[in-house]
């Protein structure tokens, strides 16, 4: 810093300027374009945090460098709120999932809520927006003010893959993220279920660890790390299970599509190490292989029977091409016996964890599967997670409409109005039809292919919007007619 200038004062001034700019930007966000009401609550919390921080800067005199970094972090959160717009996010889908969210968690000031935003990652993420905000303010605001800001509310931010915000069947992944919120709300029960089914894996792990030439503390860390991997894999699979239950085969197809370009047999382990080479157990994360996930989702959604019945139904309107796609989709029950743990281990200890997991892969999968199914049974009951049965004949009727470039919003029933299709049926018909285009692309010109996918995306979007409104209108009309 320049001689004679107080660095702390300069940082404080700059933080103040940036905070002021951020406040102005937040004020200009238009709630007209928020996909759901929760975005407004996230914005309100962020504005309160900024206001409080600004009011208290002079009184508390926080560490200037910490303050400047917190302002940059607040800007990141502000970007998440700014990206929560119907310009890019399809509001009928998010509103539909919001209804499920409310059914599961209830409604009230102390209940968790979610708002939707976008991420540049080609993935979906859920994080606790309110908790992240509060964590960051710990060292620049006093605890009482922080508690006052939060008022007991948990606000989640669910980020959708921005590269494919128009690919509506991919929104089925929201069901998976809802699963993470269920686990967070019942972590103790979740761990208890895992405990009941983890014994064979833990026994095998223990035997493996004993044979390692490491000291006892290191052996303890390896054992704890293996347990942590078990927990995180179980959580991912539980979320797949919930999404399968909520959305049906559309989730399987979205999982299949999102797996493209990835190493399908890789069980990805994130194994950070400390400077001394020890495993950082608390930061460990693991993801099951896509092949294992697809195999399980295929079974959980009864995909074989679904695609078979769908093919029989579609054969009635004589489209052999779609029947052929459906037969291909029946083979999605992938063999996952060649799964492995790739990656370069930084330290001996981390390498030991990787080896233990690799050599006990089969027992890990078997235990996790049982634990997930057991927890799903109890959580479905406790959280009243809806189980949507996919009515094959409805999906057939919607595919028939898509085949004629007609919006898939109505299941014909010989009346003039027909039956409004369910969200579930529209999403499944669209997911199947999308895969039909993608898998059959080799046969046609790229421009023709692109036009077909564009039309499908437009028709799906329109169908979800008009049926959403039709449902609300019908409820209102019934009330008026009574």
């Amino acid at each position: 810093m320049v001689e004679g200038v107080n660095e702390g004062d300069v940082l404080l001034s700059k933080s103040f300027l940036l905070l002021h700019r951020l406040q102005r930007e937040l004020q200009s966000l238009d709630d007209y374009s928020f996909p759901t009401d929760a975005t407004g609550l996230a914005l309100g919390l962020l504005q309160s945090a900024c206001n409080t921080l600004r009011e208290q800067i002079d009184r508390i005199r926080p560490n200037p460098a910490a303050l400047l970094n917190r302002v940059f972090f607040l800007r990141k959160l502000a970007n998440q709120v700014a990206l929560s717009s119907t310009t890019r996010i399809h509001w009928p889908v998010t509103k539909y999932f919001d209804t499920i969210w409310s059914e599961v968690f209830g409604v009230g000031a102390d209940r968790p809520i979610v708002f939707y935003s976008l991420t540049d990652d080609h993935n979906y993420h859920l994080h606790k927006f309110s908790l992240n905000l509060i964590d960051e303010l710990q060292d620049v605001l006093d605890e009482a003010r922080i508690k006052e800001l939060l008022a007991g509310q948990t606000i989640y931010c669910l980020e959708l893959a921005s590269a494919e915000d128009f690919n509506l069947p991919l929104y089925a992944n929201i069901g998976h993220e809802l699963g993470h919120a269920v686990v967070a709300a019942s972590r103790r029960e979740f761990i208890a279920h895992l405990d009941q089914h983890a014994s064979p894996f833990l026994t095998a792990t223990k035997a493996g660890v004993e044979s390692l030439s490491l000291d006892s503390e290191a052996k303890g860390r390896v054992t704890r790390s293996a347990a942590k991997i078990f927990i995180t894999i179980a959580e991912e699979l539980f979320c797949d299970r919930i999404a399968s239950q909520l959305v049906g085969p559309a989730y399987l197809l979205s999982l299949y599509e999102i797996s493209w370009g990835q190493d399908l047999t890789a069980m990805m382990l994130r194994l950070p190490a400390t400077r001394t080479g020890h495993a950082k157990t608390s930061d460990i994360h693991a993801y099951p292989s896509f092949n294992f996930r697809i195999a399980l989702a295929s079974r959980w959604t009864q995909a074989d029977a679904f695609f078979h019945e769908l093919a029989e139904g579609c054969a009635q309107f004589g489209d052999q091409a779609i029947c052929s796609t459906l037969e291909k989709l029946r083979t999605l029950q992938i063999d996952h016996s060649t799964d492995h743990c790739p990656g370069f281990a930084l330290t001996l200890e981390v390498k030991a964890i990787q080896d233990i997991i690799s050599s006990n892969m089969d027992v890990l999968k078997a235990c996790v599967e049982k634990a997930v199914e057991s927890f799903e049974l109890s959580s479905t009951d406790r959280w009243k997670i809806p189980h949507h049965k996919c009515i094959v004949s409805d999906v057939v009727a919607l595919i028939d409409r898509l085949n004629h470039n007609i919006v898939p919003n109505i299941v014909p029933d010989n009346t003039l109005l027909g039956q409004p299709a369910s969200f579930h049926a529209i999403l499944n018909a669209s997911a199947v039809y999308r895969l039909h285009h993608l898998l059959g692309r080799a046969l046609e010109d790229l421009d023709v292919f692109q036009e077909k996918v564009d039309i499908l995306e437009r028709l799906t979007s329109k169908a979800l919007e008009v049926t959403f409104i039709q449902r609300i209108f019908s409820v209102w009309k019934e009330g008026v007619d009574k």
């Binding site: 409409r401 004629h404 470039n405 007609i406 409004p420 039309i455």
Partner: protein, 207 residues
Amino acid sequence: MSVLNQAEIKRRMKRHSYDEKLVVTPLLSEAQLGPGSIDIRLGSTVIVPKKTYVDSQDLTVRSESHRVVNRLYEHSKLQYHTRFVLHPRQLILGVTFEYLAIPTDTFCTIMTRSSWGRLGLVVATAAAVLPGYKGSPTLELTNLGESPLVLYPGLPIAQLVCHDAVSEGSSAASYHGRYAYSTEAELPKFFVKDFDDELGFWGREKK
């Protein structure tokens, strides 16, 4: 070309094959079917022309027709149950809530519903919906009255009048134009068909 009455409209809507069926979907109520027309609603996307620093739109120049669009128009997604205002003499492009599929033996026109027309609302100046068309037609909403009009997505502001397009036993050729399968308000599309090259001929400035 006779106007179809309610019974004939229903008959065409109940045809089994999608290749022959008249589709207007969703109908929120059977009451939308009048004696000689079907009431249709305002959808949720609009395109609002802006007054900007661009001097004019010369659509005979291919590069300009694509480049100026973002300067001249603003696309908006409207929320249901939320109002928007159409000011006197303002033109806004809207879209129908319904998706239409017109069979080749039918020709339709879109007209303002009379009550709205008396307030000065005009919903379509290019009102023809050709045989074989599929999509949600773009509406050209104008307020010819003296005071601002409040509109909401979902309001039944227009009507679809259907005509028989069969002449001496043969149906019309099917529409496969540039506006097929649209579901949102759309800007004019120039230079997407070969005959649009003609625009360049007519617009060519003499040196």
